[in-house]
Amino acid sequence: MPTLEFEGKTYDVDEEGYLNDWQVWSEPLAGQMAKLDGLELSDAHWDVIRFLRDYFQKYQIAPMIKILVKEIAKTMGPEKGNTKYLYELYPAGPAKQACRYAGLPKPTGCV
């Protein structure tokens, strides 16, 4: 199984680097994942990651983009509630990249 080493601990991840267990996640670990991608997480990045974690705890799945956009608009204002803003933050796609940093599994099925 692929793993990720960080601060003396070994984390199980899948082939694409998603954590196998969302509960072992920590903020420094998210920072490390981003760092490995050459990305420094700003407050704006953290806002999205925290929203994703909250949503996941409530619903046991990452939100679809549409809901993410709507929620970001509600809490952070309409100028940020759009797909363009999210893609600027996470160029590899908010669903994939931000979910990975947030320690959430990737959705599967007819999606």
């Binding site: 899948d14 046991q60 099925g109």
Partner: protein, 538 residues
């Protein structure tokens, strides 16, 4: 992950066969062509054999010591159980009519993707162990032993077939090559050899009733979010019900419609239509899945996952089932369900409460496809439609393999589209209806890591879209399958940029004039209606 070549690089397809005979050309695993192996947790969740960490690319697949025995016993069992399988193993005369009909052969140039040769991979093993000529003459009779290399080859090519059955349309013997792939995958599953992308949804579905693993409160919150969007767009507040006993109709759609764009817009279209009709229907949060990735695993698993829908229909005491825009759900229902569970005697033969049409042909399943339901409404003039709201679209229709070749739904979606859109154009006739080209990502191949294979497999479909895009300015590819909605979008972005993808009921939702609605200024995608925008800018 493998880097995806550019469309220009990828379209240079090499059709020259290898110099050596196919038996002497072992499968070479190319990056971008295969999916990750199943994680053990998914196999454990449904009690399937040999859960362990494994990588298809490595030489040790961590198989049980007696794997050959397991494989051959499974083979023998299935030959006995499925007469069709035995027949298909025996009767091919290798005429080659199927060879150039497969989208994967057309897109890869790999001879082992010719349906005849893909089947031969398994037939050669069949001959060796189950026919007299093969037992006596071995290689001379086209027989070969099952070895690890043969197993790898079977796996690699069983997951380069989308079970679309286009080849079967052209087979003079009517061999259903998809059934051969299905059995081949079953045998592989006896050894724990499935893909992660297929088994994840299976495990989720077993636990929650849907592929995505959506919990009841999550489903409710997602649908409520769509209700908010519909209210913003139309001014009308819809009040869907969940798990409501005594509703007339149980509505089932793939969970992809609840989660991924553009499926969510299709879903909004369904809800707007039902509201306008005043339809007495309910959602189920326990069976919120039309799709069945069990079909891509084994017959037994498909059977286990399928019945929840009927169990739910029974529990809620509905009269009949209305099914959404899904592909393989209908394959499972039409071709297997009655064999598995017998006739559905606790439901009634569906009658449209709006038109009074009795859907006699489904007197066994008691389930109607929404394309048939809506086409019937339109035929009886029951909908107030304004097709000019879709005037910014030039639409073509992609027949989904399973609804086309599995149940012959050709006219209904076209009838709907012609009534809700003013600009509809067909792709060339050898690429639609029963000859439709697959999206290239069906049967659980819609993962991310095999993107090159998907783009190659979808190449013939994309090529036909490109043709109508060039000649008629097509900018919308409509379809009635959730895998299509998910898979055709990246396919279009790759091969025919500028063409969007939608479900037919998104077009219906846009055109539907609802009682008491406000003047529409946006589409269901919340994008400004182009003519409104133009007027405002004057």
């Amino acid at each position: 992950m493998a880097k995806l070549p550019t469309p220009d690089e990828l379209s240079k397809i090499n059709y020259k066969p290898p110099e050596k005979r196919w038996v002497n050309t072992p499968a070479e695993f190319k990056d971008g062509f295969w999916c990750f192996g199943t994680r053990p947790k998914y196999l454990q969740a449904v009690d399937m054999p040999n859960p362990r960490e494994w990588k298809p690319i490595e030489d040790d697949w961590k198989l049980p010591e007696n794997w050959k025995e397991i494989f051959l016993e499974g083979f023998a069992e299935r030959l006995k159980k499925y007469r069709s399988f035995r027949l298909f193993m025996d009767i091919c005369v290798r005429c080659g009519a199927c060879a150039d009909k497969c989208h994967f052969f057309l897109g890869t140039g790999d001879p082992k993707n010719m349906p005849v040769l893909r089947a031969e991979l398994l037939r050669s093993v069949y001959r060796n162990y189950f026919t007299t000529s093969g037992k006596l003459l071995g290689k001379l009779a086209g027989a070969r032993e099952i070895t690890f290399d043969v197993l790898r080859e079977l796996w690699y090519y069983a997951f380069q077939c989308t079970e679309c059955r286009r080849c079967s349309v052209f087979c003079p013997y009517g061999i259903d090559t998809a059934e051969i792939t299905i059995i081949c995958r079953e045998l592989l599953n006896l050894l724990g050899l499935n893909t992660d992308w297929t088994m994840g949804p299976v495990a989720n579905c077993y636990r929650t009733g849907n592929h995505l693993g959506l919990e009841p409160h999550t489903i409710k919150s997602i649908i409520e979010s769509m209700v908010e969007d519909i209210e913003t767009i139309t001014g009308i507040k819809i009040e869907p019900t969940f798990n409501r006993k005594g509703a007339e109709i149980l509505f089932i759609t793939p969970s992809g419609d609840l989660f991924g764009d553009p499926g969510t817009y299709t879903c909004m279209g369904y809800m707007m239509l039902f509201h306008e009709l005043g339809l007495n229907y309910t959602w189920s949060t326990l069976a919120a899945e039309g799709g069945n990735f069990g079909l891509f695993t084994s017959n037994e698993m498909a059977k286990k996952l399928a019945y929840k829908i009927y169990a739910e229909a029974k529990r809620l005491k509905v009269k009949w089932i209305l099914g959404g825009e899904c592909g393989h759900m209908w394959r499972v229902w039409n071709q297997y369900l009655e064999t598995w569970h017998g006739p559905t005697d606790f439901l009634e033969t569906p009658v449209s409460p709006i038109t009074g049409t009795k859907f006699d042909y489904t007197s066994s399943l008691k389930a109607v496809h929404i394309a048939e339901f809506t086409a019937d409404l339109i035929k009886h003039g029951k909908l107030n439609l304004n097709p000019s709201r879709n005037d910014y679209l030039k639409v073509t229709f992609h027949d989904s393999c399973n609804t086309a070749r599995g149940m012959g739904i050709f006219e209904e979606p076209r009838h709907i589209i012609r009534n809700v859109c003013n600009h509809f154009y067909e792709m060339p006739e050898n690429t639609i209806r029963e000859q439709t080209f697959c999206c290239g990502s069906g049967s659980g191949l819609n993962a991310g890591e095999n993107m090159e294979l998907r783009m190659r497999g979808g190449f013939p479909r994309a090529n036909a879209v490109k043709h109508v895009h060039k000649h008629y300015g097509i900018n919308m590819l409509a379809n009635i399958c959730a895998i299509d909605r998910a898979a055709l979008k990246p396919l279009m972005d790759y091969w025919v940029p500028g063409v969007e993808v939608c479900g037919v009921h998104e077009l219906v939702g846009n055109a539907l004039v609802m009682k008491g609605e406000k003047e529409r200024t946006t589409t269901l995608r919340s994008e400004p209606l182009p003519e409104k925008e133009a007027k405002e800018n004057v």
